[in-house]
């Protein structure tokens, strides 16, 4: 079901946590709320859930105004950052909880509850743990039980607060893939909060970038990466080199083949893979010197020093495939020519 947020604002004292947020999430999407810590993303999620009141604005789920409805009546599924599993209940009872607390006339019979719980536990591939207590589970298992518990009440939307935040790096990778597949299977409108841009890009079908309580950009992962709306998004998503025309970088950029824009942009953001490198033949006029490099698996990251600048200037990073780097046969201290394929210009 679709979610519509209109003009949501929230202050904590004098601090504006959310500042006139308007957001529409179409049915069936898997949306990431992405931003640095303190940007208001968790607050926004909690307002959608009804765990927190907005000072201003409306929350509509499936075109129904839910703003004044209590969390227990909204019919949302919420997965908490540290899972918030009920410590005193078994895994089975945790998942069954939402069904057991329904008013008597809506409450399914014990048989149906058991059947449903087992189906959900199978869905998250943990049926064999049904009589364990949460303290006896690993982080990844708790995560999946928390998800099964939230799904048991057949929520209209699923909200996840930093779903992978408390997990080991290796478990996190597996669970990302798994969550994506599960979403494909269930197709329930979902929003998750994350501060990890890689995670957002990998899992979500739509990414909403938040900063200082405002939405900076909303779009598909490739939209956001290829066409960042502003300097903040460009810098927050992926690696980028920043060049400031006012700080003597204009001439240097021209030698690297990048002409100033027709617009009045003053700052150029260049992705490392948009810098092409060749061994220089004209030693003196070469724009850069190779200082060092690091292996990033299939890619090599090269650290370059701009020639003609003093030593304290920021290094320029470029990336290229491993085998291509080997063909160039470069050594530390070699002069290199470069060609900047494209840049994003900001004020």
């Amino acid at each position: 079901m679709s979610i519509l947020l209109s003009d949501i604002s929230k202050n904590f004292g004098t601090f504006a946590a959310l500042d006139h947020i308007n957001l529409e999430v179409p049915e069936g999407e898997l949306v990431a709320l992405l931003g640095p810590s303190g940007c208001g993303k968790t607050t926004l999620l909690r307002i959608i859930a009804g765990l927190e009141h907005a000072d201003k604005g409306r929350v509509l789920i499936n075109e129904e105004d839910k703003t004044d409805q209590n969390v227990s009546q909204r019919g949302i599924g919420f997965v908490f950052q540290h899972y918030a599993l009920f410590r005193h209940m078994t895994v089975f009872e945790n998942v069954a909880f939402g069904l057991r607390v329904k008013p008597r006339r809506d409450r399914p019979s014990n048989d149906i509850i058991a059947k449903k719980v087992h189906a959900l536990l199978e869905l998250v591939q943990l049926d064999w743990l049904n009589d364990r207590y949460p303290d006896q589970l690993s982080g990844g298992q708790r995560q999946r039980i928390a998800l099964a518990r939230a799904l048991a009440v057949e929520p209209s939307v699923l909200l996840l607060d930093e779903p992978f935040g408390a997990l080991d790096a290796s478990v996190r990778k597996d669970l990302r893939q798994w969550l994506r597949n599960l979403h494909h299977e269930l197709n329930v409108t979902s929003i998750f909060v994350t501060h990890d841009q890689e995670e957002a890009m990998e899992v979500a079908s739509q990414v909403v970038v938040l900063n200082h309580g405002r939405i900076e950009q909303q779009g598909s992962p490739s939209d956001i990466y290829d066409h960042p709306a502003n300097a903040f998004v460009s810098r927050f998503i992926g690696q980028t080199n920043v060049f400031d025309l006012d700080k003597h970088d204009a001439d240097w950029l021209q030698t690297a083949g990048l002409l100033p824009p027709h617009s009045d942009g003053k700052i150029a953001h260049v992705r490392p893979h948009d810098i092409l490198i060749e061994k220089s033949t004209a030693d003196q006029a070469a724009p850069a010197t190779l200082k060092d490099w690091q292996h990033l698996g299939a890619l090599i990251r090269l650290e370059l020093v701009k020639n003609g600048s003093n030593g304290s200037a920021a290094p320029v990073f470029a990336e290229m495939p491993n085998d291509q780097f080997k063909q160039l046969n470069l050594n530390r201290g070699d002069k290199v020519d470069l060609k900047i394929r494209q840049a994003h210009w900001f004020h």
Partner: protein
């Protein structure tokens, strides 16, 4: 032997600890056991089955039980209010909770007796409105024991409520539970073991309590005479044997009850996934 061989001082500290424990606690306490060997079984049974002795046990245990139950109920509410709500004067009330703990029992005794005696402030009020006399009745003992029990219950429940993960409650609400369901199904089961501990501590203290009780109890044999007072009475009559028999019985019953409560607690924790 030692957890970390670099830490110095194991021999002297453990030596002093055991010596001091032995001298101050174990040897004196064991005299009670050895002294009771001087009694033969028939004498023992004769002393213990005396009607006045049995009545005093009944009075002590029943009043302590009732007082611990009442204190647990209200103590839970007090702890809840202190942790969950904000209101004017909260730090003041928070500090006052330990007053029964800090106030010498004899002072508590004469104060409560003064309040609840028929001419006292509350005593008069209760007689005039409800026709109930509290002082010199088991009811008076219960009042004194409630006073003594308050900090035991509040101070064991408070930290558990404080540490309680609020996200568990939010999870309950998000799954559609009403506030009452969240309380009965999520909060209370998690706090219950602590409440049980508080109850047990209050009960154990109540059974042995002496100073705060004797002034308000009236100490009428068969009605409001508690076991500790009976021991003192026997002692004043130089009936060492009688005092020994009663004291030992009381000690054993207290220990057995503490043991049972510990077992119960283990069971409750295990059942609620806390072990």
């Amino acid at each position: 032997m030692s957890q970390s061989s670099v830490m110095p001082g194991f021999r002297p500290t453990i030596g002093f600890t055991l010596l001091y424990l032995g001298l101050v606690v174990l040897i004196p306490l064991s005299t009670l056991v050895f002294k009771s060997f001087e009694l033969d079984w028939n004498d023992y049974v004769h002393i213990i089955t005396n009607k006045r002795v049995i009545s005093s046990f009944r009075v002590s245990f029943s009043t302590a039980l009732v007082a611990a139950l009442i204190a647990s109920f209200f103590g839970f509410i007090v702890a809840w209010v202190l942790v969950r709500y904000s209101f004017l004067g909260k730090p003041f009330f928070h500090a006052l909770i330990d007053f029964p703990f800090a106030l010498p029992t004899a002072v508590a005794g004469i104060v409560l007796a003064t309040i609840f005696q028929p001419s006292g402030f509350l005593g008069k009020l209760l007689i005039n409105t409800l026709g109930v006399q509290v002082a010199f009745k088991p009811m008076g003992i219960v009042m004194a024991l409630i006073f003594i029990s308050i900090p035991f219950v509040v101070r064991t429940v408070e930290p558990v409520l404080l540490e309680f993960e609020s996200s568990m409650e939010e999870a309950g609400s998000s799954l559609g539970a009403t506030r009452w369901q969240v309380f009965t199904k999520i909060i209370f089961p998690n706090v219950f073991p602590a409440l049980l501990t508080g109850f047990a501590l209050a009960f154990a203290r109540g059974v042995g309590e002496y100073g705060s009780v004797i002034f308000i109890a009236g100490n009428i044999p068969y009605i409001s005479e508690i076991v500790p007072l009976l021991i003192v009475t026997k002692l004043e009559q130089f009936d060492i044997q009688g005092a020994t028999a009663i004291a030992l019985t009381m000690l054993v019953i207290s220990f057995v009850m503490l043991l049972l409560i510990n077992v119960l607690q283990y069971w409750v924790r295990k059942r609620s996934g806390q072990l």
